[in-house]
Amino acid sequence: MKLTKVLLAAAAATTLSTAAVAGTLDDVRGKGFVQCGVSQGLAGFSNPDEQGNWTGIDVDVCRAVAAAVLGDAGKVKFTPLSAKERFTALQSGEVDVLSRNTTWTLVRDSALGLNFAGVNYYDGQGFMVRKDLGVKSALELDGASVCVNIGTTTELNLSDYFRANSMKFNPVVFEKADEVVAAYDSGRCDVYTTDQSGLAAQRIKLKEPNAHMILPEVISKEPLGPVVRHGDDKWLDTVKWTLYAMVEAEELGVTSKNVDQMKGSSSPNVRRLLGVEGDGGKNLGLSVDWAYNVVKQVGNYGESFERHVGVKTSLGLERGQNALWKDGGLQYAMPVR
């Protein structure tokens, strides 16, 4: 693991010099599509539909970038990447943007020669229990047996949390996620813990999904967001503001359905976002209607969330931390002006 990091850092250092010269924005314009690194299938984030098209909130980020830069959300090519090869693929220029449920951490941001362009999903570790257990809070879990993946940060967070709240727990560890779920489903343990988005996906696999509930506590920070190469500020700005535009659009009430009417809005914020006023697009090196294209073709952040992971989907995730800041969440876009 250490060796990998050293090698990646060394590789990052060598690519840095060249990447700084080549502008990804111009490259993307030249080739006419955005090459986007996605996961090898993670429900709601990036997964194929029955027709073979990639969908998910991570995928929507890529489509939004394509809409902003090229005016067409369809001009994206997807490269499925494993967890281990994702950073190399970005560093070596195989992909232009990595939108693959990647947690923003200091080491990744600094040592690997990458830049995070924002957070499109605030994830965190949570707990799932049977409803008939009668537990309403994680603080009532003293003495519980907990199913968890072995040797992961999940396991570490779990023991930290229980120790901090001076509670005892009995770990039941497994190697693979499927084994953990099977053990929990067969009643080998009272509690199942992993990231909240993962809990939602795994719950569907249980025999009786409705007999289980996810507790409200979130015990770790897993901010997931799109990543670009270090040293290409123009491209970083492009991806960053595309993300902000989606959040800002939700805050201003601009959706893919009403965006055409909203162009005639008298609100200066809406007019600036949609390019009726000001020259935000020009300063970014994009067209004036860059944000209009994003909202029109992909939708605002809330639409994307509800479409792929929201309460109406089978994953059924609440907005929670991903609600807008006005609604008590963490999604906050810098002002578009």
Binding site: Q40, A43, G52, F78, T79, S92, V309
Partner: protein
């Protein structure tokens, strides 16, 4: 006068039929299943295991299974839900290859089968030519059919390839390329020229000494870092080269085993006839050696075929990978078992066919010495 009382001259008594308890079904069962108390116990135990295992599997896979429908709602979840396989069937077979271009893959399949059939007809006259076509002409045709970008065919990039199609591409390329490279390496390793020999030994030991997963990982993760900016080889191509060289190293050792089994007299006789090295090998040694190691060669092929599933770790979706990918769709979570059973059945069909073909080949080439 009945048969029993008929008298015969000494020595001319016809053979009596064996006792009824030693022939037919009863005899077979007694001899093979209930010969000793231990056999009785084992038979009963085995029957009990079959009883425990088979009915629930049949119940799950056929009786309680759901066959019709297009959505998750069609699955009652009491038994297997084959609707899942049906909905995703196209992707399991072809990956994300565009719909309107699927005829290209199908054409290549048909061409392959059509060209291979004459090879199974005894006494067909142009077998060598068909073999040559399959080894040289067919890969070229298939390449242009699959990739396109020539002859008016649209370019289909390799990230769109997947499913069983990708598994077959990787396995066939590995199989077709590894045998000739392996033979050359095996001959090189037994060569008396020190440079050739050491190169071959080094190559074989290097590739055989690392796991395939490492080879794939290097080809996908480390290799691009050594390339200058903007130079990118296709990911599938990198994986194919890795698989090819890896299986060639294994093949070389299998073939070398065959070469060592050929008696020295064969070599000396060939040399005494004045044959050159290549003629000696091509006409006398290799035909015997390869025949000897057919089981080993097919073993390597089958191993390679199954190893193709490892490409999953470098983000290529083969047959198995596609099933796992399909299982991440939020509408179809929780059908992993159906997917794995389907893939296992698919792999079994291919591997078993290879095994049967090798046995057929062994019988056909058996010359009794």
């Amino acid at each position: 006068m009945t048969d029993e009382t008929r008298s015969h001259d000494p020595g001319s008594h016809p053979d009596l039929p064996p006792p009824a308890s030693t022939v037919g079904v009863v005899g077979w069962v007694r001899q093979n299943l209930f010969a000793t108390p231990l056999d009785v116990a084992l038979t009963v135990l085995a029957l009990y295991l079959v009883y425990l295992l088979v009915p629930p599997v049949i119940q799950w896979a056929f009786i309680d299974a759901d066959w019709v429908g297009d959505t998750r709602d069609a699955c009652s979840r009491e038994g297997a839900c084959w609707v899942y396989i049906r909905v995703w069937f196209k992707q399991l077979m072809y990956g994300r290859y565009p719909d309107e271009e699927l005829w290209r893959i199908n054409t290549a399949y048909v061409l392959l089968v059509a060209a291979a059939i004459p090879l199974f007809i005894p006494g067909f006259r142009w077998k060598q030519w068909i073999g040559l076509f399959l080894l040289v002409g067919y890969p070229i045709i298939a390449f242009f059919l699959f990739v396109g970008d020539a002859f008016g065919l649209e370019l289909v990039e390799t990230p769109l390839w997947g499913g069983l199609f990708l598994t077959l591409v990787i396995a066939l390329v590995g199989i077709v390329a590894s045998l000739p490279i392996g033979i050359v390496l095996a001959l090189g390793r037994r060569s008396e020229m020190p440079v050739v020999r050491s190169i071959c030994v080094a190559f074989i030991e290097l590739w055989r000494g690392v796991p395939l997963i490492t080879v794939l990982f290097m080809s996908s993760v480390m290799f691009p870092l050594f390339m200058p900016e903007g130079v990118n080889f296709d990911k599938l191509l990198r994986a194919l080269v890795g698989v090819m060289l890896f299986s060639a190293a294994y093949m070389a050792e299998v073939v070398r085993g065959g070469l060592q089994a050929i008696p020295k007299g064969q070599y000396e006789a060939a040399e005494a006839l004045g044959l050159s090295f290549w003629k000696m090998m091509g006409l006398i040694v290799l035909p015997q050696a390869l025949k000897l190691v057919i089981p080993g060669i097919v073993n390597t092929f089958i191993g390679l075929f199954k190893d193709t599933t490892l490409v999953l770790i470098i983000g290529l979706f083969d047959f198995l990978g596609m099933v796992q990918l399909a299982g991440t769709n939020p509408d179809w979570l929780g059908f992993a078992v159906e997917g794995y059973v389907f893939v296992a059945a698919g792999f079994w069909v291919f591997c078993f066919s290879m095994s049967r073909y090798s046995q057929h080949l062994e019988k056909k080439l058996h010359t009794g010495h």
